[in-house]
Symmetry: C2
Subunit: 239 residues, 2 copies
Amino acid sequence: MIHGDTPVRLYELVLENGRSSSPYVWRVRYALAHKGIPFEPVPVGFTEIPAMFGGRFRTLPVIEHGGTMMNESWDIAEYLDRAFPDRPPLFATRGEYAAARLCDEWFANAIMRPLFAMYALDIHNAARPADRPYFRRSREERLKGQTLEAYTAERVAKRPAVRAALAPLRNQLGRFPFLGGGSPGYCDYVALGGFHWVASMSTLPLLAADDQVLRDWLERGFDLFGGAGRDARMQPLFE
Amino acid sequence: MIHGDTPVRLYELVLENGRSSSPYVWRVRYALAHKGIPFEPVPVGFTEIPAMFGGRFRTLPVIEHGGTMMNESWDIAEYLDRAFPDRPPLFATRGEYAAARLCDEWFANAIMRPLFAMYALDIHNAARPADRPYFRRSREERLKGQTLEAYTAERVAKRPAVRAALAPLRNQLGRFPFLGGGSPGYCDYVALGGFHWVASMSTLPLLAADDQVLRDWLERGFDLFGGAGRDARMQPLFE
């Protein structure tokens, strides 16, 4: 039997400066905060993952709670709702859960994919020196041999299309304070995680200075749960 | 006091063949069917709208229920949940409502907008002859003087990008039978409405023959509520 007062440990992917960059780590951080669950963060570099878990997990985040260890942010989110039923739910209905998964698919396809084509080299350069060769090798393999430099070379030219693709968020935020409506929901955490990722390593501000609707929402989001998402090491998101 | 047995009338935008083309009409049709509310359809051409409502409404759908008349599909959807509280809800929680609005924003931006650039001329050609000059004039004005012919000329070249932009739907439907999860939700009706729109007038099949995941979902969607969405006048959606 797992009790609500059993401590939770969160294994986080970190950069050289110690800040977590992973958008999947960030959504789990928000999920834990949403439910009011304190946790102990454990920093892990890209290349430390295999040894740390005896080969069991190849991606972070991983959470440890009593005898339970698991990765995959969606499995973790569902686990948290099951294991802490007396805390505020991440998904009040199965419809909310399905909608959050679809939100994640839209955000991954329309926003995160083009963002990777802008920031892949920045991630490399911000990673722990020991992790950089692995990061470059594995990502350039996925890019069919294209270098990170070549892949991100046109990133300033790609930026307007990414800004335009954020229109659905702006439209929703013209109607509600959060993507989830009157209060923040998992879709907010998915999107905030993406912006934390950019803010963890960006050397090119993503958003226009006058993008007030996104600016206001990001401020509200970073202020959530006592400003748990705030960090002096964050790079500017706005020009 | 409005009773559940007061008849509902749905004013629908129709093409020359009498089929409704509007994606907003289709989502309201599905919303009514979801709640098990019978309705009387009233066909209306583009240019008949102003006179029919004494200038009160400029867009369809419009519903009439007792003394209530309203347009705007989102206002109608919320009205239906209020006026028929004993019927299955379209939005079980405020979170589900907000998520459906965000789904609509994604679908409008990533799918419907590029679809209009493929099918604007087909809509014109399928409209009632009396409506065509109005449709051309109003749409070409929005296109800053570009003709419908020029606007849609490269549509075959644009088709692969639209198919790629549908990846979030395919991913979600690899996980659940419906976009809304285990049972159809308003986001399904939004997307099905978009496909009904294309099927109402397309002269170029949108989807690849082997797009089995979308094919299966469209079959399930068109079969909903006794096949209420089926129509012998539908054009093929698949190559």
